[in-house]
Amino acid sequence: MQTIIETKNLRVEYKPQASREPRKVAVKDLNLKVCAGEVFGFLGPNGAGKTTTMNVLLGFVHATAGAAYLFDVDVREPISRQRIGYLPELTYYYKFLTAEELLRFYAKIFKVPRDQVDRRIDQLMKLVELDHARKRPIKTYSKGMQQRVGLAQALINNPDLLILDEPTSGLDPLGRMKVREIIQRLKNEGKTVFFSSHELGEVETVCDRVAIISQGELKVAGRVSDLMKQYQANLEMIFLKIIGYQPALAMEAA
């Protein structure tokens, strides 16, 4: 099976705020492989290094050591991002544009053929149920609507890999259900989805495989069903155990 995402001994260090402090290691020698057609959950507590890893994959941050590849192309090459869609955790779009203009802009960047652009925008607007508001500036949208525009822009190039950073954060239950449906649909179409989330129930439902990282280190990776069998617990319990959460200590602290 084709490897879509691969990291080899990936290490990311940040410069300290003060010169006396040691360098902060955000990701320590991470080795990860995601294959074609998988829905892969990337889990970890806040500050574990999930976003940093995603930032390396997306070319925002350069690795201190090691390497990362998308479709066997080094992530430092912009062309590695030709077949991906990215949905950030929060909505970061040009608010003075309408949803349609935003999609047209991104379609142009991806060089989507002109005769396909209108059809593609129509499909996506219907998919995210924003057809009625497509001519309105994004600044007039609610948070949920903005998140759906984000999803539409992530799909404009009909990507083979979707990278979603906490796609359901801040959404109401209906919004979450819709995002989950879309992920399921993409999976059925054979797309690869790589996403981070704190909603472990959701991850359990939609993911084939997961990786849990803590303090920049990969703690465990495997099929959800295998992990549940191995630990005799649901994903939430497994997660808490792996990151070293101790209920008794937490109670004492409280």
Partner: protein
Amino acid sequence: MNTVFALATVVVKELYRRKDFYVLFILTALVTVLMGSVSFFHDAKIARYLKEICLLLVWVSALVIAIGASARQIPSERENRTIFPLLAKPVTRWQVVLGKFTGCWLACGLALLMFYVFFGVISGSRTGHWPLAQYLQVLWLHWVMLGVVVAMVLCGSVIFAAPSSNATICFIVVTGILLLGRHLNQVALREPEPLSSVLYAIYFLIPHLEWYDVRDFVIFDHALIGWGSCALATLYAAAYTGLLLFAAWLVFRRKPLNL
């Protein structure tokens, strides 16, 4: 180039959806029309003064538009975090710099066109004289000069943290060059060493934007500037624009995306 033009389109859309340009245009139009409607001391040369005032307002407004629009481009991408979904596409940082430059420069060109059409109508209605080729030359040289200004401001926007400080510094530098640039070598002659060498170095380093200020050709109805000279001036501005954009990219390519 596809990506560069896509980015430029967004910049142009942003400019015409903001109110800055309209305010400046209305202000220029209002002042010019008001001045034109008053007959000072029944002076027959009133049309010349009118042209002078209108062109001065056009220059000031164009500088405000160029500096204001360019100064906020890259910082606002970083502040609003729109840079993240953008760079998650197959877009390089060089294309971002070039796209922002193209957008700002085109937007300035559109604004200039409107200003000069207005100027042409006001001037023509007063004098009955329509020197279109001359207007075209003045407009072109003005636009080419704004290219250097836009590139300078973009370069500043990746160096200085706040857009307001960048805009202020660039405005002072550009105004300084326009007012003092041509005199620097003469001042250098009168100064002792090492100040003389420093001033000479500055004189040869700065882009001489004042060469592009050919308002007097229109005001005093001089003959056309040679097209060869126009082409050389365009090349000179293009070289400085290229250098400044390259410097902007050098700084931006290693810059963390978070502010």
